[in-house]
Point group: C2
Chain length 488, copies 2
């Protein structure tokens, strides 16, 4: 397939520095930018005012920083901006090449995008969005001042205005909101040679063009012509004999996470978006899908940790407090309930104070085990592997696992408590309470996500808080209840 | 750009069923397969023996199931297999078209792959891997019996054997382990027209071919020729005038997660892998990178929940116990330490039993808040946004957030405890203990990941367990300590 690769000769004079991997080079660049920001700190007022630094020894670092930033890919510039505290971020943002502004705004996180947009005036914003495609403008539109969006739309032609408005009409989680409109379409009844000639008339093809969309006279999608096939096809062959008809297609109302899963399963690069009449209206591309996959997993992680949304590392204290208060409040409520459960057994604790020291162990292992169960099930549901039908079977299995773990770890802690307090009764209550709380954790760990899904809710959201609430209060109740019945 | 799209006529006679999105159709198919498995349960012994079902009413469902499975993409067949309990999984695996076996094995999760390979004999395995590329065979090799790998290698030519062995020589997290060898390379001193003629000689181009690699006579990489550029280029133009020289390239020793981040940032589809002499040795493709991104985020999530690795949903109870025991054991140890802290204050609890009920609130809010801090920082580190230099600044901010939250929520719970126990002292101790524990959580939440990274360890691994251990024991110590000093 690739005869030139068989040549065993190796050129050995390659300069080492040049072959250092790109990954390493970038991280060195970012480190250097941080250092330059520190060196330049005294000259910040001058840089902000757009005049040369008073201290002439700072001219060289300033030039170096400007050159470094100009060489950065917009995505890397976005990463640098996210990594800097507010003052430094503003300075670097001033030094980024204005023609990169739009791309950088698209790449930074929502929280940082807000701070950058706030620092720009209307003219700068209009210049920044001027080069963007319709779908990119639509993506930024929510964060831009209304006035800017309105003026930016006026400079576009009728078709683009319609595209921006179409993209903005879909909600964040829908395919329509991330589709783009740059695509190449052809008719089925032309020869491949004609297609090649047609393509040569473009100045450049849209990013990620791996296939050409084949439509009929009404723009209805008939199939796709993969470039891979076009390149090896006989130039005389008609497109309809080369094209693929069985195509993964999406509707603008489709869920982006499901679309991303389809991209992953079928190894897609681009896919057509069609309306209810099969009319081709746009396409979605793998780069957007990769972002969806990344954001989805990050959102899960943030939610599990009790953060509402991605936070600017250097956000003002008060913004961070607002981003985090809700889960803290929920946590306080569930902790309060658990506290009242303990309160109900204060009489027992007064008599056997050892109970106070042992009860967090019972609650803790239940929470840990319940989180294991619920994470596994939520994950299986997210990848579509689990239907309600199997819930019974899974419950049986998880109860089995809980029973095994309860007897093993319950016995370990039972023996430890027996030796520690020299009281066999306390040991036996530990074994029983730990086993029962693990069984409770397994049952609730299966049932919470199953019911959440039946109710049409996202089973990931808050499931960890819920299970911990149940295993805490439940664990205290079981342990203190058993102790009250059998030890007093 | 696409004049045919402007035609406003819409064909309205499209059959609705046909335009149902692919996403919906797949989930219906999977549901149907589950139902058919239930219907066919009585005939499982006959299906396993390869004879027609005794009960003739089951012939039709069996045919339907076979047809449905034959129509599934191997990735979907893999999803179906993962979603089925062991017995049903075996039946479906028997019915999957043998020519899909290799692809399906590549797609299923590690845990399920093991169960499938166990059910196959040597001939079936050899037939399954026969169609695979060198890099795919290398990917499966670890899970296959040695004998099968050895025999499979004998049927390959010298070059492929060398490729399989090269791929197997890299560890799981390295680019070399996932690179593939199917690539098209050309010389720089030919015309674009020659390239197009050369490509036409292929039966088919490798998957994801979005660029052709330009090499010199020693196979050293000189640049890449994106297909997008080739298609619009003047056929007479020399490749060296069209090719791109500034190319993101990787070394086989590079970390796959860093490579995946580069793919994400630069919107790559394929990228060259070169050795220390710049010699082109393979390429990596976006589909592998998407898997890396997905697996990375899943591993983080599983680790946070205390699971060692992805688990087969229907694994035997004992396998699940083994997958989960380690984190449960660690959790028990930290809970035991916390329990001993409480034990040290048994005298105080005996005198004021309310302390036992209130102490979990102090520990709980510390754990919640600490997890918020640590998650944010670990995430920033994973995306390379955080260098050690900013740790001090971040610490200052997090301490500020903790102080605000501590005063707000501490006061709320302080008032509640005061009213509940009618004791102002208890209320004041609550305020102080909650604020102090939140400050402890913030400090440790910043320091743990910073030290982990300095020590060269993955800051994500176990960080949640560590912070909870600190805030539990610390919370009990602070609260009970303050109570002992001020209330007794």
């Amino acid at each position: 397939m690739n005869p030139e690769q068989e040549n065993p000769d190796i050129r050995t004079d390659g300069a080492e520095a040049e072959t250092a991997s790109d990954v390493e080079r970038l991280s060195a660049d970012i480190g250097r930018i941080h250092t330059l920001c520190e060196i330049l700190a005294p000259a910040f007022p001058q840089i902000e005012a757009g005049i040369p630094p008073e201290d002439e020894t700072l001219t060289a670092p300033l030039t170096e920083l400007t050159v470094l930033l100009a060489e950065l890919h917009p995505a890397d510039a976005a990463g640098v901006l996210e990594s800097l505290p507010p003052r430094e971020r503003n300075i670097v943002w001033l030094l980024v090449r204005p023609e990169d502004d739009g791309e950088v705004l698209l790449e930074v996180s929502d929280a940082v995008r807000e701070t950058l947009i706030e620092s720009m005036d209307k003219e700068e914003l209009l210049a920044a969005v001027d080069d963007l495609d319709a779908d990119e403008l639509a993506e930024l539109a929510d964060d831009l001042p209304h006035q800017v969006v309105a003026e930016a739309l006026q400079t576009r032609d009728e078709e683009e205005r319609a595209q921006v408005q179409a993209a903005m009409s879909y909600s964040d989680g829908q395919v329509g909101a991330i589709m783009d409109f740059e695509l190449v379409s052809i008719r089925a009844d032309v020869a491949c040679e004609v297609v090649l000639r047609y393509l040569r008339r473009f100045d450049s093809l849209p990013d990620h063009t791996d296939k050409i969309f084949v439509v009929d006279e009404n723009d209805a999608l008939k199939g796709v012509l993969p470039i891979r096939k076009l390149l090896v096809a006989d130039p005389e062959e008609q497109v309809e004999n080369v094209m693929v008809q069985d195509v993964v297609r999406f509707r603008p109302e489709d869920d982006v996470e499901e679309a991303a899963q389809a991209f992953e399963r079928y190894d897609l690069i681009t896919a057509p978006v069609v309306d209810e009449n099969k009319k081709l209206i746009g396409r979605i591309t793998i780069d957007e899908m990769v972002d969806v996959i990344r954001e989805e997993s990050e959102a899960d992680m943030l939610n599990m940790a009790g953060l509402q949304e991605e936070e600017d590392l250097f956000a003002p204290v008060w913004d961070s407090v607002k981003n985090r208060w809700m889960w803290l409040a929920i946590n306080l409520c569930t902790a309060f309930v658990a506290s009242r459960v303990i309160g109900a057994f204060e009489g027992s604790i007064e008599k056997i104070v050892a109970l106070a020291a042992l009860m967090p162990i019972v609650a803790g292992i239940g929470g840990n085990s319940g989180n294991q169960t619920i994470t596994m099930i939520v994950r299986a549901m997210a990848t579509g592997q689990l239907s309600g039908m199997q819930a019974k079977r899974l419950l049986k299995k998880e109860v089995g696992v809980a029973l095994a773990n309860g007897l093993i770890w319950g016995t370990v802690m039972g023996i430890v408590s027996w030796l520690l307090y020299n009281d066999l009764g306390i040991g036996l209550v530990m074994v029983a309470a730990m086993t029962l709380n693990l069984l409770l954790a397994a049952t609730v760990g299966v049932l919470i996500p199953v019911f959440m899904e039946k109710a049409g809710r996202d089973p990931a959201l808050g499931s960890s808080v819920l299970i911990t609430a149940v295993t805490d209060s439940g664990g205290f109740l079981i342990f203190l209840g058993l102790a009250t019945v059998f030890l007093l």
